[in-house]
Amino acid sequence: MSVWGWQGEASARLGPPRHFRLPFLVAAVVIPLLVNDPKYMVGWAAFLILWSLAMVGPNTFAKWVKLWIPLTIIYGAFLYGFGAATEPLAIGLLISRLLLALLGMQILQWSVPPSDVVSSFEWVLPRLGVSLAIALRLVPRLERSARWRLETLSERGFDDDGTFMQKLRLRSSLWPGWFADALDHAHDLGDAVQSRGLLTPRKPRGGILRASLRRLLGEEKDVGGEHIGPFSDMVQLGLDIEMRLPDGRSIGRHKRMLRGGSVILLKGPSGCGKSSLLRVLAGVSPWQHPVTVYGKAHLSGHPVLGEIDISAGPFASSIACWIPQDPDRHGIAESVRREFNIARRLAGDWNQESMLEELEAWNLLEMLDEKPEELSDGEQQRLLLAAHLDPAQPLWLLDEADVHLDEAGFIQLGKAVVKHQARGGLVIVVAHRHARWSPIADEIIEMEVGETPIELPICEAPSTRGEQEWTPPEISLFSNQVEPVRAGDLIVITGENGTGKTTLLREWAAADGIVWLPTSPDRRLLGMTVGEELTLQHPLLLQAAKLVDGANLGNDAGEEVNRLQIRQSRLRLDLGLSRIADATPVHDLSCGERRRLSLLPLLISEPRIMLLDEIDHALDDSMLAELLRLLGKARADGCALILTSHSPDLALWASMSGGRRWLIENEVLSEVKA
């Protein structure tokens, strides 16, 4: 957690009360300047330190001190060196004042939730307020993204050799990839803001006079705007559009009429334009994407906006409820509670009771004060669905919204969808694993006709169990009741959302230096372009890429580079990445392509054990089959595979391939006997 930012709801409760924040800020700056008596200065310092400790605990406070003490010493040395003050005592006093003022301001920083800062912009500069909210969300992401890059460098062996300066140069050369990743995340947040209508300036519901009168009369807050009755029969979506990329390639031609009261399942391979269609219907594309849409699209029967010509966008208000892929990239607020507040800012305030019911239904009640980034992928997905499945919108667009959900989560989502359908709403679902959706879908639309169903390839289990490779270490969260891992083992770890599957893999990887692939590919990508990424997949490949013409690395290293390059090319071909030009920016690739690109260095390094988190995420059936075939080959060569998944298909595949199953339940990791 960042030492700078807001430290959570508990700190907010212990911080200065809302209406005393400004006076406290003034006092925090002025008191150290006015107080000359060291006795009072020490008293004020002790008060601030005790308050900070109570608010954020000793660890965060120690981090703050660790950063500021050396900095203030450097500043003091500069002041002394340039003659701004000559007496050491005077310099000491100046520094103490500076530190006390900073600590006072830091107390505010720790306790004031960013959304309160943002809400102060709402009436004058509402859109810049949204910018500030996004910026506050991006700052911790920038920090995490930098940490992932360092972890990836270390995992790929870049930290093993080289001088300090070489390592520093390498690290500092990674910033464009880091920035491009942040730009991509910012784009996703921008899409979320646009589709949810958050750029609309806030207006008092029913006018200022009515609101004041209602307050004077002590009436309840109006919860209007949240449409809870059935929709009219007029909910219809008429499409006659063709979507094209800037190079003129078509990514979908849609000519059909979809009526309310139905659930439509879109099927098709990666890259056929399913997500692009949902973005167009959500009012996000083509204004925010390099896509040209030809033709007409109309949505009728919207309870507030009536007939909507979607081509007349971009819209200030929300026209549909869009749940995009990757829940960790689309949440705006800093806590679960505040995500709910933002979600209902425009659609109508949450009735406290209905909010609690919703939280309980989605199993989030105990996480009300948590920060979204500290939740697991499944919990973040639940949060996005619980907060943003807006019953007031007749059109729901769900883009792989069930990928991270366990069975209980999917049942909850299914219930919400069926309820919406019964009210006359139209639900369009995109899913790669459609077995879950088929029973409730009224219509299945094939985006590419003629796609044949693909069977997942059964990989042969080794005839005899290999050598014992590794015994999973005990970590603080779980107790292990599993047998050791042997060469060629295939193990699927299952468990409900939030049981700690990802944490388990991360901790094991850190404890025993095993390679692991997180669900989000962006955690393991370093370069800005595909070419840069490929050279950064192994230290020798980078060295070879830096060589000027005619130079060579020596015989052994040269041969190793050749071997690596050949292996990389073959794997690129197998993973369907060979057609992508090296100059393509990494973040122009689809999520599935990025996922495969991030898997490449793992396969190149031929490890003895691989930890793979939700390997089927964002992959279509044919690509998943190809990937499982490759993993089967690695397994045959003696590599042990440990996967996590919620997919029943993958669990079945593993059991048919002679794999083992581990289950996390009640903080115990246990072996499930077949």
Binding site: F78, L128, H187, V193, S285, Y294
Partner: protein
Amino acid sequence: MINLEPTIDWSTSPGGIAVWLTVLLGLIFGSMLLSADRRMTLGRQAALIALLAAVASAARVLFAAIPNVQPVTILILLIGIHLGPRRATAVAVLVALLSNMALGHGPWTFYQAVAWALVGISGWILRPLLVSKDGMSIRVLPLAILGFIWGFLYDWLVSITMLAISQQVETYISYFILGLPFDLMHAVGNVLFAIWLAPSLHRLLWLHSRHDAGGWVSSLPEDVLRREAFISGGSDATSRQRRSGEDPMAGIRRFDD
């Protein structure tokens, strides 16, 4: 009669000048912010401003250990070049707000925001000198020179804080002289950051600008209409022919002829 003489005397003194200059700058600055806010209609515009502010703030905090060396000035210069004065102003305000959450707020926050906004405006005005004719690459040398100049100008503008607070020109001058080594560090830092960051950042901002390429055309493309006319004609002909027992490929041959 109201005696305006003391007010006039004060307003022509250095302290008075600092105050009315602050008010004037504040008005210009405020109107630019309002204008930037009103023109923001897309979520991605808000997000880009947010990202640039977040990156600049994080970078400023990261380099806090080296007094007055930070990449914000060069970043805002590039933002001015690419995105124009209004958005550069918006980024300037957010950077001052965000980074000072870590480094300390005070009256200087306002002057920092104003000075960075002016940096962005200068980038926009001098764009023809700073970017190649086709707009594809940045000219590092003129950018470094401009960054060097702004290293001093920025600090002198922020030093108005002292003049506005103390109302004494002597304080301002002593502050100004003492600050010269720090100003030099800022200027040299800007030159180094221009060399290190500018080419890649130019490319990254270009990556974002490609997203403006999308659009909506109300009529379908000619080739789609032709293809569908052919398919529907073909299928009509085929079903007619099927019913009458004729060759189902006749429709396609007709088109080929």
